[in-house]
Amino acid sequence: MALRRQIRVGSQWMYADEAHKALREALRVMEDEKSGEHGGHHLPWIRRYVFSTDHKWIGLQYGFTALLFLLLGFCLMILMRLQLGWPGTAFNVMKVLGESRAPGGVLLPEAYNQLGAMHGTIMIFLGIVPLAVGAFGNYLVPLQIGAPDMAFPKLNMISYWCYAPGGLIMLASFLAPGGTAQSGWTSYPPLSVIASQGQTWWLVGMVFLITSSLLGSVNFIVTIVQLRAKGLSYMRFPFFVHAQFVTSFLLLLAFPPLEAAAVLQLMDRVAGTSFFLPSGLVVSGQALTNAGGGNPLLWQHLFWFLAHPEVYVLILPAMGIVAEIIANGTRKPLWGYKSMVFATVFLGFMSFVVWAHHMFLTGMGTTISAFFQTTTMIISIPSVIILSSLFISLWGGSIRFTTPMLFALAFLPMFGIGGLTGLPLGLAAADIHLHDTYYVIGHFHYVVAPGTIFAMFGGIYYWFPKATGRKLNDFWGRVHFWISFVCINGIFFPMFAQGLAGVSRRLYDGGAQYAHAKQIAAQTNPFMSICAIGLLVAQVPFIINFFYNAIAAALGHRDEKLGSNPWEATTMEWAATTSPPLAHGNFEVMPVVHRGPYEYNVPGEAAEFIPQHMPTAPEPAPRGGTLLPSTAVAMREN
């Protein structure tokens, strides 16, 4: 029998094999702690993964669900683009919609309307808002303000569990008799009131989604006001936090009027009232028996009172993400941080008084149009301030062209195009020609698709290492970016030409049967549809990249070399936590803030960047290294 070697551990002598065993056990415990099975609180998996109250996990739940909905909304659009590019052609893929919607693979006009209505609804209410606010906001805001969690963790969970059933009801409405909602995402009455049953489901789904965002927005505001770390005054917030703060106020105050409108429309559809049905309405040659006396414009006012602030709900978090990435990627503070913050707040206020610029052609009167035209021109100023500040921030920076930075840089001109093409729409006279044409579609898609969605992609590439401890593959990230960038412009830029030529939106055949639209439709629509398919293909490397790394991380394969701060960032989610942050309370030691959010290359300091919570500038750390406050380091050694 071999001799058992003894070694000294601390002040004790131990057998080497026993010491080895003990070390392995210690490593396992540490690994458990890292993966969230924190010493002592072994939550059942249903409370850890399904009904979790941890803001990080809820953020990931929101993120996964929203990305699935984005893909679904995009697939609906692919079907529509096939029809628009080659009207009346039979496609095998169209058969997934069933015989009743696409007999023999040829899409029916009613089904086209259903796809259009649900594309808009899914993209806005189930895709982008939950991704921008539910996922990014939930995950990052508590980390960036140095809070252990959201102020109301249970409310946060309920918020997700209102969103998920809301989404399921929307999906289930495809199975309703007569199909799903088909009155556009705007659901204008009287059409929506007399539409088939799917519209009722749509309204019920909306009530769930509104409840979800209401709970979420209360939670965000309270968290930001109450739980910010010691020393974190408002002007030391990362810009992303400001963006989420204003967004939450918009959600809080703009959504209830839509809830009121949804209740009124539900009453119209279920209880037979006539809030939105005027007297003497004749449908398919039959006079309606309703009492009448209602006002269809009332719906439009209530709807756009939500839906214009909603536009800023879609864009502000994206601007926040882009600002974070640009400050980090240029290695210098944001230019004009203060004016960006005040512009954001002003934008929030103004967004409540511009809604009727969507209604210039409803005959509401020139005086009202003049008022809303003026406010619309005023609200473009803060957007320009924010965008210009981001552009000027690039000046003199030593830019690191990482994948997230590519998406952030692309956001700037894309949102610029989207914003500037909005000005003619905000002028009542120019809007007479452009209203309800493809120009409008091109305008708001430039804001939301290569604008917001690119920012979201940038955000995913940027914060993926924080959530998983792994980086997404850079080469495939670039492939994803460049193909997407080319294709997405190929889809949306021709829309401006179509719209100026007078092609109306929501045409089943893309204008092929109208003399004035026929030529340009034939010239552009097939090309745009091919670009849409190209855009779909470009998402494949992203999806594989995302799931490969997410699954690897879930199985415990972390990239140890990466460190917790791979981008060498200054904000607290990177600098004061591990990757991923502790499941329980985020921080090992609650951080105290000593400086502004973007202290990169401060003149006179030796360190290239100084994290917000550092009392004094640290010694330059090795690239990718962790910078923890000295107290935290001491805690760890204990």
């Binding site: 252990p148 209830p256 209740v263 009332l298």
Partner: protein, 207 residues
């Protein structure tokens, strides 16, 4: 603060959950309920605006006092105002450390709410017998929608009060301050629901 503060327990200690944050002067739930009420103002504000738009756009609009039972609604107004007083009394008794009287006043509040709902039921029943339904005309449509939504808020309040009267009161034993805060927060909500009625009553019944 309590055992939950130490790492290793399932419940996470959220700062300023019970005590006010010094620089904002409020605890989390109080700010939360004020924000929630702000959104409720927008909800009822939108409905009142709809009423104004429909009424100003209509050729003729019935007078509320000719169609509805004003004395009963006046009594209901009085009942709700009383319940607003009792809910404040409940809170102040709890602040004084008197759970017994706190619960008596909570029960009184619930009783007021139930009287209100029963009266409302009589009113609805009367309208239905007269063949006045939401679909009859836009006056009754907005009447049923607004009072119905307000009634749902009353029912929600009753459920929350019942919870705090029964199982929720266990919190008093280990965290009386937090329990008192909860009554304050639901009290704020209750005042708002009363306030909505104070607007509903003249707009629907008297004009």
């Amino acid at each position: 603060m309590d055992a939950h503060a130490s790492v290793g327990h399932a419940e996470l200690e959220i700062p300023y959950n019970v005590h006010p944050r010094p620089d904002t002067g409020v605890y989390n739930a109080k700010l939360g309920i004020w924000l929630f009420l702000a959104s409720e103002v927008m909800l009822f504000g939108a409905l009142f605006s709809s009423l104004i738009l429909l009424r100003t756009g209509a050729d003729s609009w019935p007078r509320g006092y000719e169609m509805l039972n004003v004395p009963l609604a006046t009594f209901n107004t009085f009942i709700l105002i009383v319940s607003s007083v009792t809910v404040v009394m409940a809170w102040s008794q709890l602040r004084l450390g008197n759970l017994k009287w706190g619960r008596i006043y909570i029960s009184a509040t619930i009783l007021c709410a139930l009287i209100f709902l029963v009266n409302k039921g009589f009113e609805y029943g009367h309208e239905f017998r007269e063949h006045n339904f939401p679909k009859t005309n836009n006056f009754f449509a907005i009447y049923f929608t607004l009072t119905g939504l307000h009634g749902l808020h009353i029912i929600g309040g009753v459920i929350v009060f019942l919870y705090f009267l029964g199982p929720g009161a266990k919190m008093w034993a280990h965290d009386p301050e937090r329990y008192t805060n909860r009554i304050e927060v639901v009290g704020l909500y209750w005042h708002f629901v009363d306030l909505v009625w104070i607007f509903l009553f003249p707009v629907l019944y008297l004009m």
